[in-house]
């Protein structure tokens, strides 16, 4: 079942090591079939070089396995909640990519210091708090998803315009209209995280880019008046 989606999710998982976003098995990509309400995700802890499309695991929106010979990623419950709460997304990525994880470990959101950031991520990338001991013990992975979605609601963030989050002392999640866009956003986030850290090193009193510049770059790529690229 869902063979085309399995192939796509497999290929997107294989991009993670190619883009330098993962060491060993530290990352996972999923993609959803909204019609059936099922999503496809990487198995847990299997080496990338041994994966094949058939190894992808099919799970439902409660995170229960529907098909597959492997256990799904240990982060499956987080993906499930994100698909439930963010109904327009089609793909989710989690990595421990080095620079984004360093910001997550530092417990700070990533300010928008330039147009590379504004081209894809509208505003500061948020960093959500730690789960409490009780939340961890009750349902760690599921509560991670709930924490992210609640934070977006509380802060009034648009998950389409801000397809990325940092989990404190852990690492980033990104998403997009499909698995490919979610991986693209994971690469963007890592690059943006790197340049923001270096930029603060070069000028410790740096301020975010002017709102007018952020708006220009975001909206020349997104929305009704976009003119970047070939599809307008």
């Amino acid at each position: 079942m869902l063979e085309a989606l399995k192939k796509e999710v497999y290929e997107m998982n294989m991009l993670l090591p190619r883009y330098g976003l993962v060491t060993f098995t530290w990352g996972n990509v999923s993609g959803i079939d909204r019609e059936s309400g099922l999503f496809v995700i990487k198995p847990s802890g299997v080496e990338y070089e041994k994966l094949s499309p058939e190894d992808m695991v099919v799970v439902d929106l409660n995170g229960n396995k529907v098909e597959g010979r492997y256990n799904p990623s240990s982060d499956t419950a987080t993906h499930a909640v994100l698909y439930q709460r963010f109904p327009k997304i089609g793909g989710v990525v989690h990595t421990h990519s080095s620079w984004a994880t360093s910001w997550a470990q530092a417990g700070r959101g990533i300010p928008c210091y330039g147009t590379t950031h504004a081209d894809y991520l509208y505003g500061e990338v948020p960093c959500v708090r730690n789960l409490t001991r009780e939340e961890i013990e009750e349902a760690y992975e599921k509560n991670t998803g709930i924490l992210i979605a609640d934070a977006f609601e509380e802060k009034g963030l648009d998950y389409i315009a801000m397809p990325a989050v940092l989990c404190k002392n852990h690492g980033p999640f990104t998403w997009g209209k499909d698995a490919k866009e979610a991986v693209h956003n994971a690469v963007v986030l890592e690059e943006v995280a790197k340049m923001a850290a270096r930029c603060e090193q070069i000028n410790p009193r740096v301020m975010p880019a002017p709102q007018s510049l952020q708006d220009k770059h975001y909206y020349r790529k997104h929305g009704a008046n976009a003119y970047y690229g070939q599809e307008h």
Copy 2:
């Protein structure tokens, strides 16, 4: 038309990912045919691995497309102004290369800390201010070019001796006598930006290199008394 130039500009665009200066489609190279007043530039938002020489777009000095099946780079109007205002240049490059962009985001010019810098860039690489909201809304890309050229005039900078600029909260532009030299300068700028940041980390009170050393290195490579290389 301009087939040889298209091939050259294509090849120079392909060097950007090879030198590690671009992620995805974040960069563009153009080259001009001064006789016809037309220049050739990368199309907007097309992946590097899918480009071919025929995909290059021919535009005039007002940035209007003359030939090509794709839309030209969204930064075309900036290139056009630079060709108009800097009459001796033959190629222009824009990237979001990581270290140069970090300086641009920090809003600082790059001081000349050593001979690697002085060999190619005479003095501090300038960082121009943000455009105002009005300048952005009126004609963002064109006004970026005007801002750069005006800044060089106001500061009395020689665009031949300083073939690079940083745009605040955005990234670098470089240029040269042709597209190849413009790419070369983009690589130099990135390396110089990297070493300047690290050098300030190692010694926060570092001062620019003595003027006599800067002069020696710049003029042993440039001008009537140059003796570096094989062409003297």
Copy 3:
């Protein structure tokens, strides 16, 4: 003798340059056969590209050569002590990998700032003191091993849960149930060391991850209740 172990130790040594952990000959992996009490280690100062499985050297737990045409690694006596004092380990790795060595040179243990660290290393990676002049002159490499093992005892550290140590002004040692796991831990340590340094740069007042999060991640991968991966 011990041909299978030689092959394994050879292959694990060859992973060090592949993972970017060593320059020139600056690293060594060993693996032990607990039944015979003999271990196999890389020869001293031989270039990686010239090594073959037959070049591996067999030594006893006093560090004396039992078989092999080369001298064993100059760090052999340290490996021998670690095998004696940590009876459940099957492999040991020493490198001068760049980030872990930078922490060792700085004389600091690596705090646990996130789940990447907690997934494999339970708590702060310890940094042991310098040997005294007398300890160095008496038996440098042997006393390095004794210093490590004594420090683990004094601090009440479990060498299974903390399979890594930094030697001040020198570099890291890691270990594991076999040579492969020891190499895996060397890669983890380098990545963790890199992110911890960057994380402190991004937030100089950063605190270690909450204990509840460290526990969750360590124990979802290790022990009776582990559920990460496929083997539960």
Copy 4:
């Protein structure tokens, strides 16, 4: 003439880009034939991928070309002085490698923070002062060599035990018993420069490694009592 030496010097020059020590043409290796008093050096400003052994230039100890179709490296006069003043060396390397150059630009010598440094470089790598305007104008490259050799004499440094120097606001020179060892030391210097910068970032109050540890590591690799490697 000197065909074997040309081949060796050619091969050692080609190692510079392979080890990531040079961008474009920013580096040069030479090797000397002490019997004839002639040395072989890379031509000036020729791209590495276009070089062949026959392109190497033969010069005498005054830096005058004896054979070759190209101009020798613009740094030839520096090499010549080093060969004159350091009679036991057989090879010299100059690069603008990124980390070593960052220290040179910062105007600081590199303290010995660990055993990686002490294994090859005995003590702090010195950073020599800027040449004066007069010294630059009179004979820049020759006076660079004189400055280095004078500094070693004044500081009582043994050029065998310290085969590296930084020139302020410029970059490093290294040397060795032959061109191969000089390149090896250039790689060591870059690695040591990188780790020293990171180590100071991790602990701004870090102190050099204890002298007893520096002695142990230097002398287990060098001199009559060395026991590292296979040749003892």
